[in-house]
């Protein structure tokens, strides 16, 4: 092993071999004199020696600018998403709802409501036979007895010419419609058959059907599920079966809700993957059980959201058209429209606004917390960075 003495001698010889440049220290000290240094910086601010570290004022200004940028970015990302969701909620809750009401002979319903002719209900009192069928089953073959059977499998939605709505691939629209018909030239059963045929040709199905035949005039109620883009076509064909007593159609844009569900499912999927990664590293039974519990919770949420998404997808793929059919001889009584009193409306409106207010507050809290978190991290990073830079400079 080399000795300390030898190291000192060797390095001393080597180091002392370097001649100190004459007047070098004097030149440095001359540079250090305040007057000269000030003049130098005044004349050439971007000279050899940078003004680093910056002054406290510069640090504060830089930090403030960074915080402002972070806040803008946070609102652009988090706040924008929240607004989009809110708008989407509004659209989904009827902000974009198209509603038409047509009630010849009955009068236009108040507040955009529907003049509901409950033919099935009125006929039910006279009670023939009633058949309720499961959705997406089979086409109906009405029988003389009034019992309706379904025997055709549903078909996939497909594009049909003449559709009323041609949404792009990103837009998700839920369409519903109600139609009250009074048939004269054909029988109710034939009308039901025709409706079934229309739905089948459009690539849809009969979701529900009720036919009542008894002592009074026969009536039927048929719920059709047809592809969204064929909704208008089928509605027009159904209107041709008889006299239209009332008609109501609604379309609601649920794109935001759809996207939100997808995003939440995706995020939960990532969370689940993370937990699975942690699970693979668990070494004890306690750790395994604990992580497994988290995974089960996340999986439960995923399945719940997937169920909602599935329902929403179904609703946006197939429009729902409910057709009530009455024979002309039977004049259905006008539906009783329950009008809310002014006080009731006010209470209802107040509760609704309260709920919306709470939703808005909760929606705003998220971005604010995010901004505060980013500001805190930025401040911490700036503080640590300043210390590190100062230490390195010194």
């Amino acid at each position: 092993m080399i000795t300390d003495d030898l190291l000192e001698r060797g390095l001393g010889t080597l180091g002392d071999g370097y001649d100190v440049p004459p007047h070098a220290v004097d030149e440095i000290i001359a540079q250090l004199r305040p007057a000269e240094a000030t003049a130098e910086y005044d004349e050439e601010p971007a000279a050899t020696h940078r003004r680093w570290p910056p002054s406290r004022h510069t640090w504060l200004m830089s930090s403030a600018a960074a915080v402002v940028v972070l806040i803008v970015v946070a609102f652009a990302v988090g706040g924008g998403g929240g607004n989009g969701g809110g708008a989407g909620d509004k659209r989904a809750s009827g902000g974009n709802t198209a509603s038409t009401a047509l009630a010849p002979g009955v009068g236009a319903p108040e507040n955009g409501g529907v003049a509901n002719l409950d033919a099935g209900g009125s006929a039910a009192g006279t009670a023939g036979t009633t058949a309720a069928t499961a959705p997406r089953a089979v086409p109906m073959v009405p029988a003389r007895s009034g019992v309706t059977t379904l025997s055709q499998a549903p078909q996939q939605a497909q594009s049909k010419p003449g559709s009323t709505i041609a949404p792009d691939s990103l837009t998700k629209i839920v369409q519903t419609g109600e139609l009250d018909l009074q048939v004269d030239r054909i029988k109710v059963a034939d009308a039901v058959t025709a409706l079934t045929s229309y739905a089948a040709r459009a690539g849809g199905m009969v979701a529900n059907s009720q036919t009542v035949e008894g002592d009074g005039a026969p009536s039927a109620s048929v719920t059709l599920r047809v592809p969204n883009n064929a909704f208008g076509t089928v509605l027009g064909q159904a209107r041709g079966l008889g006299k239209v007593l009332s008609q109501q159609t609604k379309s609601a844009d649920v794109t935001a809700q759809y996207v939100d569900l997808g995003a939440r499912i995706h995020a939960l999927g990532l969370t689940k993957a993370t937990y699975l990664g942690i699970l693979s590293k668990a070494t004890t039974i306690g750790q395994t059980l604990s992580v497994q519990q988290y995974i089960n919770d996340v999986q439960s949420q995923i399945e719940q959201l997937q169920g909602q998404l599935k329902v929403l997808t179904d609703q946006t793929t197939y429009a729902t058209l409910t057709v009530s059919i009455d024979q002309k001889a039977h004049v259905a009584p006008a539906a009783v429209v329950h009008h809310q009193s002014g006080m009731s409306k006010a209470v209802h409106r107040s509760v609704s606004r309260f709920v919306h207010g709470i939703e808005a507050i909760i929606g705003v809290i998220g971005p604010i917390v995010l901004v505060l978190l980013i500001v805190a991290l930025g401040w911490l990073a700036a503080k640590v960075g300043y210390r590190i830079v100062r230490r390195q400079m010194v």
């Binding site: 390095l11 370097y18 440049p21 004097d26 440095i28 020696h49």
Partner: protein, 172 residues
């Protein structure tokens, strides 16, 4: 202010030669020490008093040297030929020859040491800093300094140039 100037004037030769050993380039060492002294001046309010002042100065000098080493890679790019020609003239020719040989061997051996070992060795055996001051200068824990010095000594012991020089010494 005069006190600070006097202190820098006194410290300059040793700081400059320390920088020379670290950088192995007098021109770069001069620039590094100049930069370091300017930093010292700028942060003169932060200069500790007492014995800590020297360690603090070497910390600034070492940082300036390391900045140059890491930023400009001068260590690999420059040769050390000129250093050998700057050896002081000794009155004893025999001693002069031995010192020249020793300096040449150490120059080669030092060149083969990595930066993180070379700096503590120079500070310890040339600048004469104790381990705790070296820890301050290179901003590492004293234990780290101790282990690095031990590693540096081990490598120098196995360095062929120094082994050759030791053989010559034994022969003499």
């Amino acid at each position: 202010m005069d006190d600070l100037e006097a202190w820098l004037d006194e410290a300059y030769p040793r700081a400059y030669r320390t920088a020379c050993l670290v950088l192995r380039s007098p021109a770069d060492a001069e620039d590094a020490v100049q930069e370091a002294f300017l930093r010292v001046w700028r942060f003169r309010d932060a200069i500790p008093g007492g014995d800590g002042r020297r360690a603090w100065l070497y910390r600034v000098v070492v940082n300036a040297c390391l900045s140059r080493l890491r930023g400009e890679k001068v260590w690999r790019a420059r040769a050390d030929e000129e250093a050998l020609h700057r050896l002081p003239a000794a009155s004893d020719p025999q001693r002069d020859a031995e010192d020249a040989a020793l300096a040449a061997c150490f120059s080669d051996a030092l060149a083969r040491l990595p930066e993180h070992l070379r700096v503590p060795v120079v500070l310890r055996y040339y600048s004469g800093l104790p381990e705790k001051d070296i820890a301050i200068a290179i901003q590492r824990r004293p234990g780290t300094v101790k282990s690095r010095l031990a590693e540096a000594r081990r490598r120098l012991s196995e360095d062929p140039a120094l082994i050759e020089w030791a053989g010559l010494e034994v022969a003499r």
